[in-house]
C-alpha cells in the first residue's frame, strides 16, 4: 500500500514544539501544576495571616455547649454547637423541601391561569406574577412577619386545646401525626403491598395494550395499596420476628475481623478502577477490533488507575480506623432496627396527638404534642413560596408557549381530546424547555431561605450567626454554611439534570 502514496508525503515527525500531541500533554500538565501551585500558595498565605492575626480556625465549638436556645426545630435546647447547627440545617431543609413542593404546584396553576381563555383567571394570574416578582423578597418576608405578629396572643389557659388547630401570635398548632409502636412492622407490610401494587399495575397496562380498553393502571394499583395498608393495620404484629433477624445480623457483623474488611476495601478500590478501565476499553472497541485511543482516553485511564491505587493506599494506611468504624456502626444500625420489632408492639402503626398549651417559662406557648409552625416559619415559607411561584408561573407559561402551535393542531387534527393532547404531546415537550430554568428557581428558593434571619426563624444561617457570636469562631461557621449550601445546590442540580437527560429529544 505504501507504494500507492504520492512521493510528496512526508512521514517524518514534526519537531516537538509543533507536535499537537506533545503540546497538548505539556499544556495539560502545566495547567494542573499551575493550579495546584496557586492553591497551595493561597492556602499557605491565608494560614500564615490567620495565625498572625489570631483568628481562630478550629472546630472545637462543635462539641462544646453553646448555651443558646433556638426558636424552633427538632431540638430547641441543643447540647453542643454541632447539634445546634444540625438543627439549623434540618430547619433549612424542611423549609426548602416544603417550599419547592408548594411553589411548584402554585406556580403551575398560576402559569396555566395566565394562558387560559378566561379573562378573570388571566388577569388574576398577571396581577399575582407582576406584584410578587417586583417586590424584594426580604420586604415580603418582613411584611408576612408583621401580619402574623399582629394575631391574638395565646391565652393563659394551660392544657389541651379545644379543637383541631390553634392560631395565635406564637404561630399555628395542628394535630401531629407521628410514628407509633407498630410502624416498622407495618412498613414491611407496606413494602410487600407496593410490590404487589406495582405488579398489578403492570398487569393492567398489559391488559390495556392487549384489549385497548382503558384500565386505569395507576388508580387501581393505588386501590390495591390502600387495601393492603388497611389490612396491615391489623395484622402487622406477625412481622415481629424480623427483629430477631436483625439481631442475628448485628452479631454477625460485629464478628467480622477488621483485617478482612480492610483488605476488602483495598481490593474494592483497585478492582473498581480496573473494571472501569476494562469497560472503557470495551466501549472504545469497534467491530473491527480496538479503535485508536485518543490522548483524552489515555488521560482518563491513567486517572482511573491512579485514583484506584491512591484510594486503596488512603484506606489501608492513612485511615485504618475506617473498617472498625464501619463494623461498629453497621452492627449498631442492625441493633437499633432489631429493637423496632417484636416485644408486644401490637399497637397502631401511626398515631395522632392533639395540640396543647404549656407554660415552661414566663409566657405560655404551644407544647410538643402538636405540630407547631412558628410565625418565623410561616413568614419565610409564604415569602419564598409566593415569590418563587411567580417566577415558576412565567417558566410554565413560557414552556407551553414554546411548543409550536402546529403540535396542538396536529394533535387536534388526529382527533385527540384536549386533555390527551396536553398529556401526550404538549407537556412532554414543554417540560423539556421548563426543566433547566425550573432547576434554577429551586436553587434560588433554597438559598433564599437564608433570609429567615430577618424574622428570627432558626435556619442554618441564623443558628450559625448565634453560634459564632457566642464563640467567636466566624470562619469555621462560614465554611460550614458554604459546604452545606453547596451540597444542597449540587443535589438539586443532579436531580434536575437526571430528568433533563431523560427528556432529551433525539435528533440525528
Amino acid at each position: 500500500m505504501a507504494t500507492n502514496s504520492p512521493p510528496s508525503i512526508d512521514h517524518s515527525r514534526p519537531p516537538l514544539y509543533r507536535d499537537v500531541t506533545v503540546v497538548k500533554w505539556v499544556v495539560q500538565i502545566a495547567a494542573l501544576a499551575l493550579t495546584l501551585g496557586a492553591l497551595w500558595f493561597l492556602a499557605d498565605q491565608a494560614g500564615d495571616n490567620l495565625r498572625a492575626s489570631n483568628v481562630p480556625t478550629d472546630y472545637d465549638f462543635l462539641s462544646v455547649n453553646p448555651g443558646i436556645d433556638l426558636s424552633s426545630g427538632i431540638d430547641t435546647d441543643p447540647d453542643t454547637g454541632g447539634r445546634a447547627l444540625w438543627v439549623g440545617m434540618v430547619n433549612t431543609l424542611r423549609m426548602a423541601v416544603a417550599g419547592i413542593f408548594v411553589a411548584t404546584i402554585l406556580g403551575v396553576i398560576v402559569g396555566l391561569a395566565r394562558l387560559s381563555n378566561n379573562w378573570l383567571l388571566q388577569k388574576i394570574g398577571t396581577v399575582f406574577v407582576e406584584t410578587l416578582r417586583n417586590v424584594p423578597l426580604l420586604v415580603q418576608i418582613l411584611f408576612y412577619g408583621a401580619v402574623f405578629a399582629s394575631l391574638d396572643r395565646v391565652t393563659k389557659d394551660v392544657g389541651p386545646i379545644n379543637g383541631w388547630l390553634h392560631l395565635s401570635n406564637k404561630g399555628l398548632s395542628l394535630p401531629r401525626v407521628h410514628i407509633a409502636d407498630g410502624f416498622y412492622q407495618w412498613l414491611i407490610v407496606m413494602c410487600i403491598g407496593i410490590f404487589i401494587a406495582n405488579e398489578f399495575r403492570k398487569r393492567r397496562i398489559r391488559q390495556q395494550d392487549a384489549t385497548g380498553e382503558e384500565s386505569y393502571p395507576l388508580l387501581s394499583a393505588f386501590a390495591v395499596l390502600t387495601f393492603v395498608a388497611a389490612v396491615g393495620w391489623f395484622i402487622h404484629p406477625i412481622f415481629g420476628f424480623v427483629g430477631e433477624i436483625f439481631g442475628a445480623l448485628s452479631s454477625f457483623v460485629s464478628g467480622i475481623p477488621q483485617t478482612v474488611l480492610q483488605i476488602a476495601i483495598g481490593v474494592l478500590c483497585v478492582g473498581s478502577s480496573a473494571l472501569w478501565i476494562r469497560s472503557f476499553l470495551n466501549s472504545r472497541r469497534t467491530p473491527a477490533g480496538l479503535a485508536r485511543l485518543t490522548d483524552d482516553d489515555y488521560f482518563r485511564m491513567i486517572f482511573a488507575a491512579v485514583g484506584g491505587i491512591l484510594g486503596a493506599i488512603f484506606f489501608l494506611i492513612l485511615w485504618p480506623g475506617l473498617s472498625s468504624w464501619m463494623i461498629n456502626s453497621l452492627s449498631d444500625l442492625f441493633n437499633v432496627l432489631s429493637n423496632k420489632f417484636g416485644d408486644g408492639r401490637t399497637g397502631r402503626p401511626i398515631d395522632v396527638d392533639l395540640p396543647n398549651i404549656v407554660q415552661t417559662g414566663k409566657f405560655p406557648n404551644y407544647g410538643p404534642s402538636g405540630l407547631n409552625f412558628s410565625i418565623g416559619f410561616a413568614a419565610v415559607f409564604f415569602g419564598v413560596v409566593f415569590y418563587t411561584a411567580a417566577f415558576i408561573a412565567e417558566i410554565v407559561r413560557g414552556g407551553i408557549l414554546a411548543v409550536p402551535k402546529g403540535q396542538s393542531e396536529a394533535a387536534a387534527a388526529l382527533g385527540l381530546k384536549r386533555a390527551t393532547a396536553l398529556r401526550r404531546v404538549i407537556i412532554p415537550q414543554a417540560a423539556r424547555v421548563m426543566l433547566p430554568p425550573l432547576g434554577n428557581q429551586y436553587l434560588n428558593l433554597t438559598k433564599n431561605t437564608s433570609l429567615a434571619i430577618a424574622v428570627g426563624y432558626s435556619d442554618i444561617v441564623q443558628v450559625g450567626q448565634t453560634v459564632y457570636n457566642q464563640t467567636g469562631k466566624t470562619l469555621p461557621v462560614v465554611s460550614i454554611w458554604m459546604l452545606f449550601y453547596l451540597s444542597c445546590s449540587l443535589s438539586i442540580s443532579v436531580i434536575v439534570n437526571f430528568f433533563n437527560v431523560r427528556m432529551r429529544i433525539v435528533e440525528r
Partner: protein, 259 residues
Amino acid sequence: MSIDDATTAVSEKLAGREDMIVCVDVDKFYGDFQALKRVTATIKEGEVAVVCGPSGSGKSTWIRCINRLEVHQGGDIVVDGIELTNDLRNIERIRSEVGMVFQQFNLFPHLTVLDNITLAPIWVRKKPRAEAESMARALLERVGIPEQAEKFPGQLSGGQQQRVAIARSLAMEPRVMLFDEPTSALDPEMIKEVLDVMKELALSGMTMMVVTHEMGFAREVADRIMFMEGGEIVEVGTPEHFFTNPTEDRTKLFLSQIL
C-alpha cells in the same frame, strides 16, 4: 356558463357518488379582513380535488375550516353527513374521520415514528397496542419507509417525515384526507417521493382535497381543479379544461406566472 360545464363534466365521471364535503356560502373573517367569501363547493366520495391560487387567496384557510382548525363564521360545512357546528361531539367525530397533512409535517418530535403513528389509534380509537403497531408497520411499508419505525422524526429527511405524517393520518382510517401544501417545505428531490405516495393514495380511491402548487400532480391525478383568489372560488374545472382552456382572466394570469 363555462364553470357549470366543467362541473357537469366532472359530475358525469363521479355520477351517483355520495357527497363527502359540502360547503355552502362559507364566510371567514380575521378582524375586518374577509378571508373566505361565500365559498360553495361539493366534493364527492373518491374525488381528488386540487385547490390552487396565489398566496393569500384563502386556500389554506378554507381547508383548515373543514376540520375546524379555523372556525367559520358564516355558511354551512357538512362532512360525510355530519354538520360542523359548535357541538364538541360533532367536531371530534369529524376530526377522527378527516386526516390532515401539514406543510411543516408537525410530527411529534419526542415520540418515535412508530409511536407517532400509533398515538391516535390507541388513545382515540382505543385499539390494542399490538394491533395498532402492526397496522403502523403496514402503513410505513405502504409509504415506503418500513425500516425507519424506531427512529425519531429529527433523524429523518424532510420527505421521509412527510411520508410518516401521511401514514400517521392514514392510521386513523379516515374517509377524507386534507393536504395543506404538503410539498412546499421540501427540497426539490424529495417532492417526488411524497407525490408518489399521494398518487398511490388517490388511485386507491381515497377522497382527497389538496392545496398545492404542483401543477404536474394536479394535471395527472386531479378530478377537478378549483382556482381561488381573494377568498373566492374563481374557476372550477377538469384539469383538461383548466390547463388548456381557462375562461377567467385571473386564472390565465396565474397559470402564465407558474407554468
